[in-house]
């Protein structure tokens, strides 16, 4: 019979790499814990003798606490392989030896592969392999699996261990008088169940029973050991009462004592100070400094996003309103469709609507680039610690940080991310708060309006919107925690942070490409459909003169609906029908606010329509525009640290922005900037987009969805009212 060899080890210890070399199989090796969920098998030979080898999913111990671990622990207890090769990451010896101890207690014959041996010198580790082998009484082989080093030795060690053909003697740890007394009684009670012998050494099986291992419990149930199970439960309770801690904690304590004893005799470390990553962490996750540092980082991110990318926004805008519009018109002329409603649909609907949003692709690109750099460097994980503390301090469940941070990207996945919370109350509370986080779709609106009214302080205004969203979420959370959704007991949380590292260009590029590509896809689908919808409503006359696509926009169906809504918005300083119409269309998707504004304010035709210099001239215009934008972008980089070589107003003085400015000045009685700010606050806070509402209904039901629709509208109206009317009272704007 072919001896069975199992490769076991903690996640990321290098099991799969070692398996690949051992069995010659080709497997993808990644970095995610629990990657090897499937069972991988292979064979290898030593001196003509064949061995069957199985790669097990990573496990930290032999009590299964996850689906992946169940596969590993179930296999070991069921199949009882001839030899277990336990792969131990030499830089995490304590963790690896804790697993080695349990496999030894289970009476399985082991070969220990001390993997990643190449880091020993680099990290100042000292490990005496001979001494370790002697203490463990099993073969120990240093390996560097990714380079194939030590694999031949592992094969020989496995073959030797198999050839000995001796029963493996289980490791016996003394768990102290209390546990040993109860354990002894259980072992005696198990004598009446001979089938338990087949599961492994009886002492080990009873330890597993005490530790509450579900697989052991099921196995004992299957042999009719109900009385034994009851005795186990009673013993666990008695041990907890006598020693003052849960039995599983007491078992861990003793095993770690054994590990410490082994390490004291075989290893050491050349003393060194804290790593640079730890030093950074002391500041970045500091209770007082963490939050200001986070805010400063976000300020730089938004500064780069809105200021440095601005020249490219102007270039895309000019390209769409100039050459692209001319090509569209020329195409229509070619098929004799110019001059009628089709031209209006293409130019005023599609090009103005979709083009208006596409102009902000450089901004989104900038945001995604900065965030990808932060994510891949490891900083974003630190912000989770900072956010968690801030949330807990005001009574919002600490774990809310994840859905809320996801909400900065998109509200839809943020609402689904609330599934990670345990209690329905926490889920609902966080679900209600996530739409207040500024999703990426709102960014084009912020950049556009902030560019019109606060060109000098555009990035500060955008940052203020992001922060205001957090503040409002916290205030609403506080209010709900004290009223309808009272606070539950918070759960302690330990965070294992990745080390800081240089971001990988490949990862960053992949993230930017994926996210920007998705934004463009949305522009080509949802925004295109919304733009056509808005154009259609603009084309339909209600009252007044004119026919289809030939009516005064104010007299159109869209104008009629927007005028009605404008009455409600009047006290906020933006009661003009164009403004309320843009907000109304934003219910489809927030970017649509920009596309609708483009359609409504530039309805007289694209700016660059006139003055075509032929196709070659258009290409020259696009090329020279790109070069100019790239040069301006380079010159604007020093502006991030306050050195300004480009006037921020240069790139934003388009017809659209002039129209927006005059419209807001008119609707607010000369307080345009104040009304613009109130409009931004309204966009930040008002009813989420339809996709978010659908997700909300799916997760929390129709009643709470309507609460969100109405509640957020009221909060937004109130927020904008305070900004506009309060600002007027204070003589601002």
């Amino acid at each position: 019979m072919t001896p069975l060899v199992a490769i076991a080890g903690c996640p990321n210890a290098g099991k799969t790499t070692l398996f690949n070399h051992l069995a010659g199989a080709k497997h993808k090796v990644g970095n995610w814990p629990g990657q090897t969920v499937d069972r991988h098998e292979g064979v290898f030979s030593v001196n003509g003798k064949r061995f069957q080898v199985v790669d097990l999913p990573g496990t930290y111990g032999l009590v299964a606490v996850s689906a992946e671990e169940s596969i590993a622990t179930g296999f070991l207890s069921r199949e009882r392989p001839t030899v277990v090769v336990t792969v131990v990451d030499v830089s995490n010896l304590s963790t690896g030896l804790h697993l080695v101890a349990q496999v030894a207690e289970a009476g399985l014959r082991q070969v220990v592969a001390l993997n990643m041996w190449d880091v020993v010198d680099r990290r100042g580790l000292v490990v005496d392999v001979d001494a370790l082998q002697a203490v463990l009484a099993m073969p120990v082989v240093p390996t560097v699996a990714r380079r194939g080093e030590g694999i031949a030795e592992v094969r020989v060690a496995v073959a030797t261990a198999t050839a000995l053909d001796l029963p493996a003697s289980p490791l016996i740890l003394d768990y102290g008088p209390v546990i040993e007394r109860h354990l002894g009684a259980l072992v005696e009670a198990a004598v009446g169940y001979p089938e338990i012998d087949r599961l492994g050494p009886v002492r080990w099986i009873m330890l597993q029973l005490l530790a509450g291992d579900e697989q052991t419990t099921r196995a004992i149930e299957q042999v009719g050991g109900d009385e034994l199970l009851a005795a186990g439960r009673q013993a666990a309770g008695a041990i907890s009462a006598e020693v003052g801690v849960d039995v599983e904690v007491a078992l861990v304590e003793r095993r770690l004592q054994w590990v410490t004893g082994v390490l004291d005799s075989v290893s050491g470390r050349i003393p060194s100070g804290p790593s640079w990553s730890d030093r950074f962490d002391r500041v970045l996750t500091h209770r007082l400094l963490g939050l200001p540092v986070f805010l400063a980082v976000m300020w730089v991110v938004l500064r780069v996003t809105s200021d440095v990318t601005a020249p490219f926004v102007g270039w895309v805008e000019a390209t769409i309103s100039g050459p692209v519009s001319r090509w569209a018109l020329a195409g229509l002329e070619g098929v004799s469709l110019d001059g009628g409603w089709v031209e209006s649909l293409v130019v005023d609907g599609v090009v103005a609507g979709v083009g208006g949003v596409l102009a902000f692709v450089p901004v989104l690109c900038g945001l995604y680039l900065m965030l990808a750099l932060l994510e891949d460097s490891g900083y974003m994980a630190r912000t989770a610690v900072v956010m968690d503390r801030t949330m807990r301090a005001v009574g919002i469940p600490g774990k809310a940080f994840l859905p809320m941070m996801v909400g900065f990207g998109c509200t839809v996945p943020a609402i689904y991310a609330t599934r990670t919370l345990d209690s329905p109350r926490d889920r609902l509370l966080v679900g209600l708060l996530t739409p207040f986080m500024s999703c990426g779709a709102r960014l084009p609106v912020y950049v556009l309006l902030a560019g019109v009214f606060f060109a000098e302080h555009r990035s500060n205004v955008v940052l203020a919107m992001y922060l205001l969203g957090i503040v409002v979420a916290i205030l609403i959370g506080l209010l709900l925690s004290k009223t309808v959704l009272r606070e539950s007991q918070p759960t302690p949380l330990v965070m294992v942070l990745p080390d800081f590292r240089m971001p990988s260009l490949r990862t960053v590029w992949s993230l930017v490409k994926q996210r920007t590509g998705a934004f463009i896809r949305v522009a080509g689908t949802v925004i295109l459909a919304a733009s056509i919808g808005v154009w259609l409503l603009l084309a339909i006359p209600i009252g007044g003169g004119g026919g289809f696509a030939d009516t005064d926009v104010e007299e159109s169906a869209f104008g009629g609906i927007a005028k009605t809504m404008g009455v409600v918005m009047k006290p906020l300083g933006f009661g003009e029908w164009e403004q309320s119409g843009a907000l109304l269309s934003g219910l489809v998707a927030k970017e649509v606010v920009v596309s609708t504004m483009n359609q409504l304010y530039t309805g007289e035709g694209p700016v660059g329509y006139q003055g075509s210099d032929g196709f070659a001239g258009d290409l020259r215009e696009i090329g020279s525009g790109f070069v100019g934008s790239a040069w301006d972008t380079l010159r604007s980089i020093p502006a991030v640290v306050g050195l300004r070589f480009v006037d921020p107003g240069d790139d934003v003085s388009t017809a659209l922005q002039s129209s927006i400015r005059s419209s807001f000045e008119e609707s607010s009685g000369g307080h345009g900037a104040l009304a613009g700010l109130a409009f931004l606050v309204f966009v930040l806070l008002y009813t989420p987009c339809m996709a978010s509402l659908a997700a909300f209904r799916h997760e929390f039901g129709t009643r709470w969805m309507f609460m969100t629709v109405i509640g957020q509208f009221l909060v937004a109206w109130l927020g904008a009212f305070v900004v506009f009317q309060g600002g007027r009272l204070l003589g601002l704007g």
Binding site: V249, K399, M405, P413
Partner: protein, 93 residues
């Protein structure tokens, strides 16, 4: 340092706490604290925080992010915490 001291320190922390911070507070090393946490996790006493698992924070599906959102990845702030750990209520500690 004992495992029970570590558990007490975690329980008494006002918010999320990191391994180096726990090590500093307990006068131990990050390696020791990490090994203890992993052993507690292996014993089922600490459970991995669902939201901190790899891939968490991504969109539920392509469809759920296709409307009004920046994209299927959709979550510029999505983070991989590797293995956030959450303390489960115990019987005797």
């Amino acid at each position: 340092m004992k495992v029970t001291e570590l558990l007490r320190e975690i329980q008494e922390s006002p918010g999320a706490v990191t391994i180096p911070e726990l090590a500093r507070r307990l006068g131990s090393t990050a390696e020791t604290v990490r090994a203890m946490l992993i052993a507690l996790r292996a014993a089922g006493r600490l459970s991995p925080e669902a939201g901190a698992r790899p891939g968490a924070g991504k969109c539920a599906s392509d469809a759920s992010c296709s409307v009004g959102c920046p994209g299927p990845a959709g979550c510029p702030f999505a983070i991989d915490l590797g293995s956030g750990l959450e303390l489960r209520a115990g019987r005797g500690t």
